[in-house]
């Protein structure tokens, strides 16, 4: 466990308490069953914002608390435990990071306090196909008379249905740049993707969307900024996955300790003890790499890219196995929709894909390390 300061411990405990009391898995089930396109409960998100969670990486001058990524990671871990459906990772982590890292004073002023308060929900729109390929961007941003004209389609944008601001990666003459695209601008259409995790994902079509000069975030050659933003998104996602893995493990352990077959609890079978011991061991490794990556962001370390890929690849593999074992070790009951095991495996696979699957990050880790 990373060395937390008193404020971080308080934050984590508060998050844990709120999540367990106000947003248990049954709250996610309710959101799912309601069939909402939005994919989350706006009241719950408002409560999270009111507690300051959405502004954790946003400077105080713009309505945040500048509390750092390790702190946000603690919250994401807790919300991950019970699969809290909210735009926290999209808006308060990915999009906020882009603005904090690349925004001008006026861009920050225009958007950050809205994001922190939860009134603005922002999404990061990078990929253009079903796999994470940030080097394959075909969306074009062309200079027009008094600004920019953007055309292209972004796929599987998280919170794409409800977002009121998109941060869109688009090809410019100089490279790839990030652009601030309001959700209600003319020429932007959304097509909902109904996915297994019952959260909001949508394709965003930009048909010659006309924007002013101030739409460009950072420079026209913004690949380095995009990388920094993506690494923050990856690390935060890994923290959410850590929470999911922990809860999936705990739920399974509790089950094995209570389910009786052959006149004894399943927990007493050595074959299962060893399975759980392995999962527990994997989770310890996962925690180390996730915390190291979060700390690397806060410390501004130059090896963040390697650590981010290490964290995301490890998180992907560990949660992948955990989510499978959760079903398997529950037996028949784990196959039912009434049980929550299915929620974990469905969300797990979506997050495994988001911002790079394991083979993407193994390859990136190797390349960055000079293998």
């Amino acid at each position: 466990m990373a060395a937390l300061n008193d404020e971080q411990i308080m934050l984590r405990d508060m998050a844990r308490e709120w999540v367990q009391n106000e947003a248990p898995v049954s709250a996610f089930r309710k959101v799912r069953d309601s069939g909402t396109k939005l994919g989350y409960d706006p009241e719950a998100y408002a409560a999270m914002a009111a507690m300051g969670w959405v502004g954790i990486v946003i400077p105080e001058a713009y309505g945040g608390s500048d509390f750092g990524y390790l702190s946000l990671g603690l919250v994401l871990e807790e919300t991950g435990r019970t699969l809290v459906a909210s735009p926290l990772a999209s808006s308060g982590l990915a999009a906020a990071s882009a603005l904090v890292l690349g925004g001008t004073e006026s861009q920050k002023q225009a958007w950050l306090s809205g994001i922190a308060s939860g009134e603005v929900v922002a999404g990061l729109a990078v990929d253009e196909g079903p796999r994470h390929e940030p080097t394959k961007i075909e969306t074009r941003a062309e200079r027009s008379q008094d600004g920019w004209r953007i055309s292209g389609t972004k796929s599987f944008v998280a919170e794409g249905d409800g977002a009121s601001l998109f941060i869109v990666a688009a090809r410019t003459d100089a490279g790839v740049g990030l652009f601030l695209v309001p959700g209600e601008v003319e020429g932007l259409t959304r097509a909902t993707r109904r996915m297994a995790d019952s959260r909001s994902h949508a394709d965003i079509r930009l048909a010659g969307v006309q924007l002013g000069e101030e739409a460009l975030l950072g420079s026209e050659d913004g690949a380095a900024l995009l990388d920094q933003v993506l690494d923050r998104a990856r690390v935060g996602t890994a923290a959410e996955m850590l929470g999911m893995a922990e809860q999936a493990f705990q739920t399974t352990l509790d089950f094995l300790k209570s389910r009786v077959q052959f006149g004894q609890t399943l927990a007493t079978f050595q074959a299962l003890q060893h399975r759980m011991a392995k999962l527990y061991t994997d989770m310890e490794l996962m925690r180390s790499v996730v915390e190291a990556a979060l700390e690397a962001v806060d410390a501004g370390r130059s090896d963040l890219p390697v650590l981010a890929s290490l964290a995301k690849a490890t998180a992907n593999e560990t949660l992948h196995l955990m989510s499978r074992e959760m079903i398997q070790l529950h037996g028949g009951i784990g196959m039912t929709d009434e049980h929550e095991a299915g929620f974990y495996i469905k969300r797990a696979r979506v997050l495994e894909n988001m911002w790079g699957n394991a083979s993407f990050h193994r390859e990136r880790f190797a390349r960055l390390s000079g293998f």
Binding site: R131, R193, R194, Q261, Q328, G332, T336
Partner: protein
């Protein structure tokens, strides 16, 4: 399968192949080519298209839905070699067996072995014709892996049994006409207190409640028995002899489930094709993602090894029917089925996680659903862990007291 029941015919094999080919040519409707749904026979309501019905009728009349079962009960009385040829000829033209389900896979072979002449006459022909659907009433809330802990009681009331209790995970329970059930007829003895009973699902007091799966479908049920009267003649084998019969049936189930592997193979396009489509290739034509490519290679190799093992086991069994190798085959087949599904959705990326709607293709949506559904294959029919216990204890002799 059901090889112990073969009644070999005398015809030369080549002649048989020609006969089969000609007959299939005439009778298999082209419209059904390749349209087999491997899960359908258990987990969905019956099909009703005219071509399907005609095909089923033809196969039923010929007895080839259950090719190795004796003719007198509606089977084809084919030898194993002939049955294999028939299967090959069917596969060659994309034909498939329209007669299946638990009656064919598990209950029929078991009843042929343990049933009275009267029971066989009554129950086997409708299975052979695909007219009656059977479901398996084994598991209960408190009796899964520990099946012998089952509590559903059948009380001897003189001319009938009175059945009370609850079964669960009853696949196809809502569509089944009959249920073969393990019930407790003696509560003082665990295994010897179990009997094998046939229950008409239309009997008063039988209630089913479908259970929704993580894949979204509801192919199985909780089944409740409340004062259900079951005629004495529906007891198979001796009173208290249900455990032996029930276990034999499970061996048939496993052998067929190891078809899990077959099932994986039948699940459509090759992984390599899907990967080339979604991931693309490098300039030497290799799947562009080297890491993924390695894992596809491993899967394909293991699949080949599995297929060879299944064939070798069958040949070595020499008419001995199901064997202890059924545990190995079940585990490997189940593992490969899941491996393939995980690889498929990984290859498709986010597109492999669609739930519904027009933003995904049919094949993408079915990839998601089969991936989720497939998580069951390592659980039912005796879980992977239980098969491993069987392998360790029964095959390797690694016993608890040693």
């Amino acid at each position: 399968m059901a090889t112990a029941l073969d009644t070999p015919t005398e015809k030369p094999l080549d002649a048989f192949r020609e006969e089969a080919r000609a007959w299939l040519e005439t009778n298999f409707p082209k419209s059904l080519e390749g349209k087999e749904n491997a899960f359908l026979s258990i987990d969905a309501p019956a099909q009703t298209s005219p071509d399907y019905l005609a095909w089923k009728q033809a196969m039923a009349d010929k007895g080839w839905g259950v090719p190795t079962w004796p003719k007198q009960y509606g089977g084809g009385s084919l030898s194993r070699a002939e049955a294999r040829m028939l299967a090959e000829e069917m596969a060659r033209i994309g034909a498939w067996n329209p007669i299946g389900g638990m009656g064919v896979m598990m209950f029929g072979p078991t009843l042929l072995e343990y049933g009275s002449e009267e029971q066989k006459q009554r129950h086997i022909p409708p299975i052979a014709r695909g007219e009656i659907r059977w479901c398996q009433g084994y598991s209960e809330p408190g009796a899964g892996s520990d099946l012998a802990a089952l509590q559903t009681r059948a009380e001897d009331k003189g001319d009938h049994f009175l059945v009370n209790g609850q079964k669960t995970w009853t696949s196809g329970g809502q569509w089944a006409d009959w249920c073969f059930a393990l019930v407790r007829t003696d509560s003082t003895r665990k295994h010897e207190g179990i009997s094998f009973l046939l229950i008409d699902m239309k009997s008063p007091g039988v209630d089913v409640r479908p259970i929704r799966l993580i894949s979204g479908s509801s192919p199985f049920c909780e089944t409740f028995f409340t004062d259900v009267e079951v005629p004495k003649e529906n007891l198979v084998g001796p009173l208290g002899g249900g455990w032996t019969i029930g276990k034999r049936l499970l061996q048939h189930e496993r052998t067929n489930l190891s078809g899990g592997g077959r099932l994986a193979a039948a699940m459509g396009r090759s992984l390599v094709d899907i990967a080339k489509h979604y991931v693309g290739t490098d300039n030497e034509g290799r799947i562009a993602d080297a890491d993924l490519r390695q894992r596809i290679i491993r899967y394909e190799m293991e699949m080949r090894a599995f297929t060879m093992t299944a064939r070798r086991v069958m040949e070595e069994a020499k008419g001995g029917g199901v064997s202890t190798a059924s545990s190995i085959l079940k585990n490997v087949g189940a593992k490969l089925t899941q491996e393939r599904a995980e690889l498929t959705i990984e290859i498709m990326g986010m597109s492999g996680l669609g739930w519904e709607g027009e933003m995904f293709s049919e094949s993408e949506l079915s990839a998601t659903r089969s991936w989720l559904w497939g998580k069951a294959v390592t659980i039912y029919g005796g879980s992977t862990e239980i098969q491993n216990n069987v392998i360790a204890k029964r095959i390797l002799g690694m016993l608890d007291h040693q």
